[in-house]
Each structure stands twice: as structure tokens, then as C-alpha cells.
């Protein structure tokens, strides 16, 4: 007891040093707390896939024994966690390898599509009549081209490479992002606080960035989640047609196509990549729907 009592004073004395750190810890904990349970689950899955995309291949390369088997479409076993594919390769490794393509390409393409779409929309809304009309009609033209057909032409014209896939997916989904961002930006552009900024003499860029953007960013993030899903599905579709990532490399879409033959046998080889696509898209949407800050804003604190 006595020793215990004698220990406490130094601890108490050490305390005044830590409030800043503690407060930082507490604020980061409360930031995560703002996610809620479903958001945290989504975040965990998303982080797992991002980790897999970044480091997965490097880590798995150190486990040589896993790599091949004589059995094709093998069942789930301790040696092959997700069974084997149509060439007897380990499915777990294939899915982890595929993550870097699917997550990487889809992520970058989504960011490009939503980013460019939002930027153009802000510009159109803030500068008004002629620029708005020109941009809108131009992007309507892009919308009118069927997306698969457009991708086909791009692949035929420029060959299939990762950067080309990113560009194709981004171009296809810019008009959708633009339309949604513009409809919100136009409404906000008509509000009094934007009028006040105009009366102050602010430039178009300031109005875009400071007055309109903060108020559409929430819905645009939700749209980003949706667009991510579309792009993953588009890439999967392209790979399924053989136009996407070329073998032996494979994204999840190609994995589904490669192993489609096992569908009748209910092998894990076709289910695993499909589940991976589903888990990623659901996780992204869970995270975005639960982003902290939106509910806080309504209560009037930052």
C-alpha cells in the first residue's frame, strides 16, 4: 500500500506535461468515434484492401510453397485458403495481387472523374450563362456515347494499359459527376451568401472554392462512393470481355472471367473475387456515408 501511495505523486506530477498529447489522442479517438459502428467496419475493410493493394504482393512473395498446385479449381484448404484457379494457382494470392489493379485503377479513375466533374461544375455554376451552356452541351455529347463502346474504341486505338484504363474510366464518368455537382452548385449559386460575395467583388475562383465547394462536398463524396462502384464494375466488365488488365496480371473482374468455368462446381475460385468486389464497394459506401463532421455541422460546431 505504502509503495503504491508513494508512486502516485510522480505520476500526478507528470500529468501536466501530457494534456496536449491526451487531448490530441482524445480528439483522434472521437474523430473515429464519429464514424459509428458500420462506418468503422467499412473503414477496416477498406484499409485491408488498400493495404493488400500496396503491400500484398510483396508480402506474399515470401511464401513460395503456396504458389501452385496440381489440382485445378481446388477446394478451400489449409494450403490454399481460397482454393485454386483454372491453372491450379492459389486463389488467395491471385485475389491479393488483383487488389492492386482493381483498387488502384478504380480509385484513381474515380478521383479523377469526380474531381474534374466537380471542378467543371463549379466553374460552370459560378461563371454563368455561356460557359455553363457550352460545358453542359459538350459533356452531354460525351454522355451520349455508350460507355462500353467508348472503352472498346479506346482500347482499339491506344491498346490496353493501366493508364489508358484509368483515362477511359475517368472520361466516361466525368459527365455524371458534372451533372450532379452542377445541379447542386447552381442552387447554391442562387443563395444570398454567394450574392454577398459577388457584391463584395470576389472573383470566380474564390466563389467556386470558398462559397460553393464546402457546401456540395458532402453530397459529392456520397456520389464519389457510387461512382467508385460503377467504375469497379466497368473495369470488371472490361476485364471480363478481355479488354482490361491483360493476363497473366489480373484484376478481380478478370479473375471472375477466368474462373467462370467453375461456376457450376460452386468453386471458391469464382466466388472469392466476386465477394472481393462486393466487399470493397460496400466498404467504400459505408465509410463515405458515415464520414464524421456532417452531423456535427448541423449542430453548429466545427
Amino acid at each position: 500500500m505504502k509503495t503504491h501511495v508513494s508512486i502516485t505523486p510522480p505520476l500526478a506530477a507528470a500529468k501536466p506535461v501530457s494534456p496536449g498529447y491526451l487531448a490530441r489522442c482524445r480528439s483522434s479517438i472521437s474523430w473515429f468515434g464519429g464514424f459509428g459502428w458500420s462506418g468503422l467496419i467499412g473503414l477496416a475493410i477498406l484499409l485491408f484492401w488498400i493495404g493488400a493493394a500496396l503491400f500484398g504482393s510483396a508480402l506474399l512473395a515470401r511464401l513460395p510453397a503456396l504458389n501452385s498446385s496440381v489440382q485445378i479449381f481446388g477446394p478451400i484448404s489449409s494450403a490454399h485458403w481460397l482454393g485454386t484457379d483454372y491453372l491450379g494457382r492459389d486463389m488467395f494470392i491471385r485475389v491479393i495481387d488483383g487488389a492492386s489493379y482493381t483498387v488502384g485503377v478504380a480509385f484513381i479513375a474515380t478521383l479523377l472523374a469526380s474531381g474534374i466533374g466537380t471542378l467543371l461544375a463549379l466553374f460552370a455554376a459560378a461563371s454563368g450563362h455561356w460557359i455553363d451552356a457550352t460545358l453542359s452541351r459538350a459533356l452531354d455529347t460525351v454522355t451520349s456515347i455508350p460507355s462500353k463502346m467508348f472503352a472498346l474504341i479506346m482500347v482499339a486505338g491506344f491498346g490496353s494499359s493501366v493508364s489508358m484504363l484509368i483515362a477511359t474510366a475517368a472520361i466516361i464518368y466525368i459527365p455524371g459527376a458534372y451533372r450532379i455537382a452542377r445541379s447542386m452548385a447552381i442552387n447554391i449559386n442562387a443563395l444570398d451568401y454567394v450574392t454577398v460575395a459577388r457584391m463584395r467583388g470576389e472573383g470566380t475562383f474564390y466563389i467556386m472554392r470558398r462559397e460553393i465547394l464546402p457546401n456540395i462536398v458532402g453530397p459529392m463524396l456520397a456520389d464519389l462512393g457510387l461512382r467508385f462502384v460503377y467504375i469497379v464494375l466497368l473495369l470488371a466488365g472490361l476485364s471480363f470481355l478481355g479488354l482490361g488488365v491483360q493476363p497473366p496480371a489480373a484484376d478481380w473482374g478478370s479473375l471472375v472471367r477466368e474462373n467462370i468455368g467453375s461456376l457450376a462446381g460452386a468453386s471458391a475460385a469464382v466466388i472469392a473475387p466476386a465477394l472481393a468486389i462486393a466487399s470493397l464497394t460496400i466498404a467504400v459506401n459505408l465509410v463515405i456515408d458515415n464520414l464524421p463532421g456532417r452531423s456535427l455541422r448541423k449542430r453548429g460546431v466545427k
Binding site: V196, M199, G201, P214, R297, V301
Partner: protein, 541 residues
């Protein structure tokens, strides 16, 4: 014939917050009780609870509501549905938002009768037309065939009353039914409401923040504040001998006292000089006239330190005038001289200094403040933009501005969503003052505020005028407000200036007939005013 209403210990809460706290009152059959209080006082919440309804997120946590001999709060959901629109009817504030734009009016008016099967559609139609007649609607036989957008706001409000009365309810709840209307329309609607309520001897609950209106309608008044009853008494008693301090402050705010005039400078040169100004919307024709001309031939002189009130009904072009001066709507004709120099018509052509000198304060503080910027950001921007302030001087100036509009420094870090309506309007005013303007265009700045809060904002503006020697162009539909703060009143109708009345002549007539009509239409804070008006019109006709 109405039923009696007995409310006992009514409690309504939203989460941990108590909205209505142990409220008890009763209404005798055929009487009209007014619930009065500022926004957030729980008056609408109480009125809705009489139907056993609580808005989303709220729930009725205790007490009882008896209408006649049924206890509303212990009923099942199905029984309550049968009650609403049949035994108890509700007339909402905004009729425009309460009608379905894609169906004819008569269809919607007879809907309660159809749902509750009180009579056949044909009978209901006959009854509806009878009600239209009672409510003094034009063309009672055919008005029902129109769609909601084809009638005026005042007519729509009366049509909603017809919808409520079609089932002969025992209790009618009127929730601010005339707040959104112009004064001249309001008086007609009030007249119609009072007549049907009296003739049918219906029990009614009238929710309002306007004591003068309530004085015409109610037998008893219940004053609410923060969900608690301050006072309940007969209308006469409340108006003449209010017991609670809060009621006294409400009464004081409802009788606006003229504020001291500012010192108008002796310069012979006006600060703002409008000459033959015309403006409008739509594409311009060969002579430069817009398709829809709103303002025509406006001449106006405003001297430094002066406050001019612009008054007119909705659609009279008073807001357009402010927009034309601000450069938001380039005038199609005429000149704007500011400090003797001609201002360019469009915003983009004016230089920074010209923009700084004219600031505008908008009616709805909610949409005039960016919800994602903190108050400090909002106030800092004009200071950075016009004066390049930064660091400590910027912070000092922000604090000085907050002091000026009497807000605590702690609001600086908050977002507009966390402020009350009155506070937001003060921030709005502070932002305009941040630019050190010579002229502030005030577009209905107090219309969206409660009487007490609005009066405080008016006091503040008068004080600022004295201290900073700014000028105001004060646009309002409320003659009382304008008379209280302005040195001169400009009356507008259909985009033209009808008359200009100086402060000294406010009580001296005769004025322009339209000015007199506006003056007469503002309800006075005494009982029997509406009756006198009725007699006056019958005598005249």
C-alpha cells in the same frame, strides 16, 4: 358548435430537451384561445399536440388532452387518424406549401369529407361552395376548378380554411395563418376567418406571434415562453394589465416607438441620387428595355446619415430597387449618382472602393451566411478583402465588430447553424459594417424575426446610425417598422414611386390614398379594431 378542450400537464420533449413543460389550460365551447410567443416557445408544438401529433424527433411525454369527452393522447393511431381532419382541423401557415399543385382546389378542399366519409362528394362540393361564399372568395362557384397557382396567396389561405371547415370540426387550429400575407390581404383574410369562426361558434386555437392580430381574433390569450406558460387571461386583461414581465416586453415590442433620428449632414450633395431609374428582367429589346419591366421612373435622393424607408406590398418592386442600386440587376435606364459620381450599372464594372461603400443586408439570415464558414471567417473576409487586415489587427477588428452588434466573442468560432435567428441577423449586419460602408441596403431585415428580437435589431441599427453615421435604405412591408426607424418613407406600388412622406408629416395628412390604405391595414393593438374597420367599410359602401 364547438367542443370544450381541456389540456392538463402536457409535456412534450425532444430527446433530453423539454419543449413544452406541464402546460394546462382549457377552452370553453365556441371560444377562441390564442397561443402567443416567440419562435421556439413551443406554440406550434402545443397546437399540434392537440391532435395527438408530435413532430419527428419529439414525443408527447405526459399529460392529457380532452376534446369534448375523448382523451386524444390515449387513442390508438387509427383512432387519431379518424379524429384529425374530422373532429380537429388544422390550418397551416403556408397555404402555398400545403396544397398539391397538380390537383384542382375543389378536389383537395373536399378531401377531408371524402376520407372521413361525412357526406357524398356531390354534397361536399355544394358545401364547399357555400364555404367559399362565407369566406368572401371571388367567383365561389368556379374558383374550385382552378389550380393552386391560379389564385393569390390570401385566397389560398382562405381556401385552406374551407378545407378545414368542410367536416364541421369541433376544434379548429389556426397556425399563423396570416403571417405570410401582405397587410392589405391579411385584413381580408382575418375578416373572413373571424366571420366563419363566429357564425359556426367553433372552438378555435389561434397560434401567432403578432399580438395585434390576436387582439382581433381571440377571447383569451395564453403567453408561452420556452414551453412554459407565462400568463393566461382574457384578451382585454392581457392588453390592458399584463401581469408577467415577458408579456409586457411583448406588448412594448408590438407598439414600436419612434427611434431618434440620426443627424443628417448638411451637405447639399446627396449621398445617393437616383434619376429616372428603370430596371427589369428578361431579354432586352432594340431600345434596351427588358421584357419584363419592374421598376419605372424612380427618383430618389438620400443624404448622408439619413434613413429612408421603402414600403410596398410584395411585387411592388422594392427589393428590385435595392438590387438595381447594388448593381445586381443593371438598370435599363436612368442614372445612379453616388457621392456625386455616376455608378456603373453592372456589378462587374464597379471598382472595389465603390463596392465597399454600398453593402446589403438580406432578409433571410439563414441563406445570407455560408453554413460552412465560421462567424470569424465570415467577418474576416471583407476585412481581408477590402483592407488587407491580417493577424492580430484582424482579430481585434472582428472582436470590435462583434461588440458593435452586441454578440459575445465566443460566437466567433461557431458556425451559423448554431446561432439563433436574431444572432444571425446581427452577424449579417456586422459583415456589412466590416466594410465601413456609407450606405447599407436593408432588405426586410426584421421580417423573419420575432417581434422582440426584431425590435432589438432595430434599436441596434438606430444606434449604429448615430455612432457610425451610415445611411440606410430600409426596405420593408411593415409600416410600423419603417415609421419607427426612418426619416422618410417612400411608398411604392407596381414598380413606381407613389409618394414620399417625411418624418414630420407622418401623422399629418392627407397622404396618398395608397399610403393611407397601407396605414389603415396595419392591425392596431387593441380589441375591436377590426370591427371598426368593418363598420367603416360598410358605411363607405
Amino acid at each position: 358548435m364547438g367542443a370544450s378542450v381541456i389540456v392538463k400537464d402536457l409535456c412534450i420533449s425532444a430527446g433530453a430537451q423539454t419543449l413544452v413543460d406541464k402546460l394546462s389550460f382549457e377552452i370553453h365551447p365556441g371560444e377562441v384561445l390564442a397561443l402567443i410567443g416567440e419562435s421556439g416557445s413551443g406554440k406550434t408544438t402545443t397546437a399540434l399536440a392537440l391532435m395527438g401529433y408530435a413532430r419527428r424527433g419529439c414525443h408527447i411525454s405526459g399529460g392529457s388532452v380532452h376534446i369534448g369527452d375523448v382523451d386524444v393522447l390515449t387513442m390508438t393511431a387509427a383512432q387519431q387518424r379518424a379524429l384529425r381532419g374530422h373532429t380537429v382541423a388544422y390550418i397551416a401557415q403556408s397555404a402555398a406549401a400545403s396544397f398539391n399543385p397538380s390537383r384542382t382546389i375543389i378536389d383537395q378542399v373536399i378531401e377531408p369529407a371524402r376520407i372521413h366519409q361525412t357526406c357524398s362528394p356531390a354534397e361536399a362540393k355544394v358545401k364547399a361552395i357555400q364555404l367559399f361564399r362565407e369566406l368572401a372568395l371571388p367567383d365561389p362557384d368556379t374558383i374550385g376548378e382552378r389550380y393552386p397557382h391560379q389564385v393569390s396567396g390570401g385566397q389560398l389561405q382562405r381556401l385552406m380554411a374551407a378545407m378545414a371547415l368542410i367536416t364541421d370540426p369541433d376544434l379548429v387550429i389556426l397556425d399563423e395563418p396570416t403571417t405570410a400575407l401582405d397587410v392589405t390581404t391579411q385584413i381580408e383574410v382575418l375578416r373572413a376567418f373571424r366571420r366563419v369562426v363566429r357564425e359556426r361558434r367553433a372552438t378555435a386555437v389561434y397560434v401567432s406571434h403578432d399580438l395585434a392580430v390576436v387582439a382581433q381574433m381571440a377571447d383569451h390569450i395564453l403567453v408561452l415562453r420556452n414551453g412554459q406558460m407565462q400568463e393566461r387571461n382574457s384578451t382585454k386583461q392581457i392588453l390592458e394589465q399584463p401581469a408577467s414581465d415577458y408579456t409586457k416586453s411583448l406588448l412594448a415590442a408590438a407598439r414600436p416607438t419612434p427611434r431618434a433620428a440620426g443627424k443628417v449632414s448638411d451637405d447639399s450633395q446627396p449621398l445617393l441620387d437616383l434619376h429616372a431609374l428603370a430596371a427589369g428582367y428578361g431579354p432586352r429589346n432594340a431600345r434596351g428595355e427588358p421584357a419584363k419591366l419592374i421598376l419605372q421612373d424612380i427618383n430618389l435622393k438620400l443624404y448622408r446619415g439619413q434613413a429612408i424607408g421603402v414600403i410596398g406590398e410584395s411585387g411592388s418592386g422594392k427589393s428590385t430597387l435595392a438590387r438595381a442600386i447594388a448593381g445586381l440587376l443593371p438598370p435599363s435606364h436612368g442614372t445612379i449618382l453616388f457621392n456625386g459620381r455616376e455608378l456603373k450599372p453592372a456589378l462587374a464594372q464597379r471598382d472595389k472602393e465603390e463596392l465597399r461603400q454600398i453593402q446589403m443586408v438580406f432578409q433571410i439570415a439563414d441563406t445570407a451566411l455560408n453554413p460552412s464558414h465560421t462567424i470569424a471567417d465570415i467577418l474576416a473576409r471583407p476585412l481581408q478583402f477590402y483592407k488587407g487586415l491580417r493577424g492580430a489587427p484582424l482579430q481585434r477588428r472582428i472582436h470590435a465588430l462583434l461588440d458593435l452588434v452586441k454578440l459575445p466573442h465566443s460566437v466567433a468560432d461557431r458556425l451559423p447553424g448554431g446561432l439563433s435567428g436574431g444572432q444571425k441577423q446581427r452577424v449579417n449586419l456586422a459583415r456589412a459594417l466590416a466594410a465601413d460602408p456609407d450606405l447599407i441596403l436593408c432588405d426586410e431585415v426584421t421580417s423573419a424575426l420575432d417581434t422582440v428580437v426584431g425590435a432589438a435589431v432595430l434599436d441596434l441599427m438606430t444606434e449604429l446610425r448615430r455612432e457610425l453615421n451610415v445611411s440606410y435604405l430600409f426596405i420593408s412591408h411593415d409600416l410600423h417598422t419603417v415609421r419607427a426607424v426612418c426619416d422618410e418613407i417612400v411608398v411604392m406600388q407596381h414598380g413606381r414611386k407613389l409618394a414620399q412622406v417625411a418624418r414630420a408629416d407622418y401623422d399629418r395628412g392627407p397622404h396618398h390614398p395608397y399610403y393611407q390604405l397601407l396605414e389603415r391595414s396595419v392591425p392596431e393593438l387593441r380589441q375591436g379594431w377590426l370591427d371598426e374597420m368593418d363598420q367603416a367599410t360598410t358605411l363607405a359602401s
